[in-house]
């Protein structure tokens, strides 16, 4: 019905365009028509706005809102997430959906900025079919959506955003993050580095110039200083997000001659940085740590011995992942469909969907097989422990997740054409997290060098 109304309005608007080209403009009658058309157009938009949601309704489908970057530079990171969601949802639906109910997802592009994302979130939340939001990739989006999730009481699963500020107040009822946060992610690198190179003296940092880069630098530096107080930070560089050219930064890094270069650049930025830094010998003169290096393993030739990781346990070739037939199947299906093996953002998305599925199951068991409400779903997520493709995701009392951290170095393998991660350490999720309610940075500064002794050593995870 709505479409008919729109086509009529469009047709009338188009026909009234001809008025503009006529010489005897402004007959009162025709102008009236223009005005009426304008108003009718506004009404039609309203009608569409209300009915489009209704039109999408499938009887008895589990609606999910999935927020990721599908355009702009961050899509280099967001598209693997979307691909994984597509694949997982197809697989879930092929095997009968979640508890017999098919899943249908609506994707929202985070590249529209906070305002557009909030509008879409409100729109999706307005439809009762959409029971869970999987949002979001960017920390800024998560921070903007978190108060909204609490107000609208929609269970919202942060599938990738990892700022430690998100759940710090411990009051969240509807925001969950089965993923861990920046604190364990970057402490893991400090511990791994000191185990592998105990005599490191000087460190340089090159991170993207936004909250994620600054947070990571702060946490990594604090952890290093706590574990080995004589370490010096000789350079801290924050190139603009999306820079095509890193020559100036590379010059600074090579002249500073640090023992270690740490970076959490990602996406195209990381690819550019690696391509420009390799010929200038940065990888030979310093031990480089690329915190998100796993995402480019299949795309740029990284030399051996670069410390890389996956900000969690989402490495599709880890021993745990290889032992899980589901994961192997997922990785192969992903490769067949998208031409690449799943990088860790893809695994994170897949794990988030498994987390939601598990919550559904638990909620339905509890309420006797009825369709769970949003509140029941949030209740089921609380304190849950879910087996994912690559390990377990445990939800703490403050709704933050505990997942293991895998760190290793690049090695060549005859099995693949690209370097893989070897000499790995897998740190238990809870060992690197402050207690609920503790200020993370204050906690890091209380760490003693002995802290690292009890943790797994590089190469221990085989």
């Amino acid at each position: 019905m709505a479409f008919k109304a729109i086509s009529i309005v469009v047709a009338r608007c188009l026909s009234s365009l001809e008025l503009l080209f006529r010489l005897d403009r402004g007959l009162p009658q025709s102008n009236l028509r223009l005005v009426v058309d304008g108003l009718a157009g506004a009404l039609a938009i309203g009608v569409v706005a209300t009915t489009s949601v209704a039109a999408q309704e499938k009887p008895n489908a589990v609606g999910l809102g999935i927020f990721t970057f599908t355009s702009g530079p961050a899509a280099a990171y967001g598209m693997p997430g979307k691909n994984a969601a597509d694949l997982m949802i197809d697989e879930i639906n092929a095997t009968g959906g979640i508890e017999g109910v098919p899943v249908s997802a609506t994707y929202v592009d985070e590249a529209q900025g906070a305002q557009g994302v909030i509008a879409e979130y409100r729109r999706l939340a307005g439809d009762a079919k959409n029971q869970v939001m999987i949002a979001a990739l960017s920390s800024a989006t998560c921070l903007a959506l978190a108060p909204l999730a609490e107000q609208l009481e929609v269970p919202t699963v942060g599938w990738n955003c990892d700022t430690h500020q998100l759940l710090m107040d411990g009051k969240s009822k509807y925001v969950f993050r089965p993923n861990g946060n920046t604190v364990p992610e970057f402490i893991a690198y400090a511990i791994y580095l000191l185990d592998r190179k105990p005599d490191v003296k000087t460190v340089a940092i090159i991170n993207p110039d936004y909250a994620f880069g600054h947070d990571a630098a702060k946490i990594f530096t604090a952890a290093l200083k706590a574990l080995k107080p004589d370490i010096q930070i000789v350079a801290e560089l924050y190139p603009k997000l999306g820079s095509p050219n890193y020559q100036t930064e590379i010059s600074r890094l090579t002249t500073a001659r640090p023992d270690v270069v740490f970076s959490n650049l990602w996406g195209a930025d990381l690819e550019n940085f690696v391509r420009q830094a390799t010929p200038r010998g940065l990888f030979a003169s310093s031990q480089v740590i690329l915190a998100l290096g796993e995402t480019v393993l299949q795309r740029v030739p990284l030399p051996d011995g670069v410390i890389v990781g996956v900000l969690g346990d989402g490495w599709w070739m880890s021993p745990d992942a290889k032992a899980n037939p589901e994961t192997v199947k997922f990785a192969e299906a992903y490769k067949r469909r998208f031409g690449e093996y799943p990088v860790f953002p893809a695994i994170k998305m897949a794990n988030a969907l498994i987390y939601v599925k598990a919550a559904y199951k638990a909620a339905m068991q509890k309420n006797g097989g009825k369709r769970p409400t949003r509140a029941e779903l949030a209740d089921a997520m609380k304190g849950s422990k879910v087996a994912t493709l690559t390990g377990t995701a445990q939800t703490r009392a403050d709704n933050d997740g505990l997942v293991d951290q895998i760190v290793g170095v690049t090695v060549k393998t005859p099995a693949q054409q690209f370097p893989v991660i070897g000499d790995m350490a897998r740190y238990k999720g809870d060992s690197l997290m402050p207690q609920v309610g503790q200020d993370p940075l204050a906690w890091i500064s209380t760490l003693k060098p002995e802290f690292a002794k009890s943790l797994p050593k590089p190469g221990s995870y085989k």
């Binding site: 506004a42 706005a49 529209q112 305002q115 509008a119 879409e120 729109r123 500020q165």
Partner: protein, 307 residues
């Protein structure tokens, strides 16, 4: 006739959120941007294009966040104070910016706003960097309200402000001070010979336009609940100019028409495809090709003929 059209348009706006509750947010933000675009349109009257008005938009939104943090917790007070912040920033920047014309004016506005953007993004400890600052829900005239009520209050308040401020700006544009703006555009030297100080005329216009952008910024800050440096980025400024041109600078409603059109188009496009940018861009090209005077041109033509 005009009043009937205007009244029915406002009425439709007022009832739309009842039909589709999520539209309330979109419309609130659209009206907020309409205010800012109106600010740009005021300067466009004098032939001055500002590609930097997002700075005032953001300054006021940051003002709300900081004032709220300092303990001020009332919607009315926060709105007034933040608009004053924007006007003050406008007065300071305007004092030297209104000496310039044409491309120099546009570029200097752009430069100043990008300095502001860089400060917002870089002063990590003060502004929260790219993660921005939260804008809490204030009390409405002393009454603490919940989130849904506040958002409705905000929407209808913006709607009322749109009418009141719109009428005020209309009066201003029809006053000698307002007509002097068009005179600056057509012949600035003659204006000086008539004894009208161009610098003062433009400074007043600049401060008014900064305050309008500030009003929009404050409303947007409340609606979104978070202020991020992207508010001040140059693409946001360009967006405001686009809204002003799209709506038409012939009259006050133009800015709001443009803003509503663009926001609704955006909302519709993102639900259809990932390539929403393409849809928005093509529609803009079509509108600009066929309606060179903007949407307001559709209505003002009738005005001319009825004379």
């Amino acid at each position: 006739m005009r009043t009937i059209v205007a009244a029915s348009a406002v009425l439709i706006l007022a009832v739309l959120p009842v039909a589709a509750p999520w539209l309330q947010f979109v419309l609130t933000v659209a009206i907020a941007k309409g205010f800012a675009a109106l600010g740009v349109a005021v300067l466009l009257r004098a032939g001055l294009i500002s590609i930097g008005h997002a700075m005032f938009f953001a300054a006021s939104a940051y003002g709300v966040a900081f004032l709220a943090r300092a303990g001020i917790n009332d919607l009315g007070l926060l709105l007034i104070l933040s608009v004053l912040v924007a006007a003050l920033v406008g007065a300071i920047a305007g004092m030297f910016l209104v000496r310039y014309r044409a491309i120099f004016f546009a570029m200097l506005n752009l430069a100043v706003s990008m300095v502001f953007y860089a400060l917002c993004a870089k002063l990590y400890g003060v502004t929260g960097g790219t993660d921005g600052l939260p804008v809490p829900i204030p009390a409405v005239f002393g009454i603490a309200v919940g989130e849904p009520v506040f958002k409705s209050v905000l929407f209808y308040l913006s709607l009322a402000l749109m009418l009141l401020v719109g009428l005020a700006v209309q009066r201003y544009l029809n006053s000698p001070l307002g007509h002097a703006l068009s005179a600056v555009h057509s012949n600035e030297i003659r204006l000086e010979y008539l004894g009208i100080p161009v610098w003062t005329v433009l400074l007043i216009a600049y401060v008014i336009s900064a305050a309008l952008a500030g009003l929009g910024g404050a409303i947007a800050g409340f609606a979104i609940g978070r202020v991020v440096p992207d508010f001040a980025f140059w693409t946001a400024s360009g967006h405001l100019v686009l809204i002003a041109v799209l709506g038409g600078i012939g009259g006050v409603p133009g800015a709001f028409l443009g803003a509503l059109f663009l926001e609704l188009l955006h909302s519709a496009a993102v639900t259809v495809t990932d390539a929403w940018n393409l849809i928005v861009g093509m529609t803009l090209i079509i509108v600009i090709m066929f309606l060179p005077q903007g949407f307001y041109g559709l209505f003002s033509r009738k005005e001319a003929s009825s004379l």
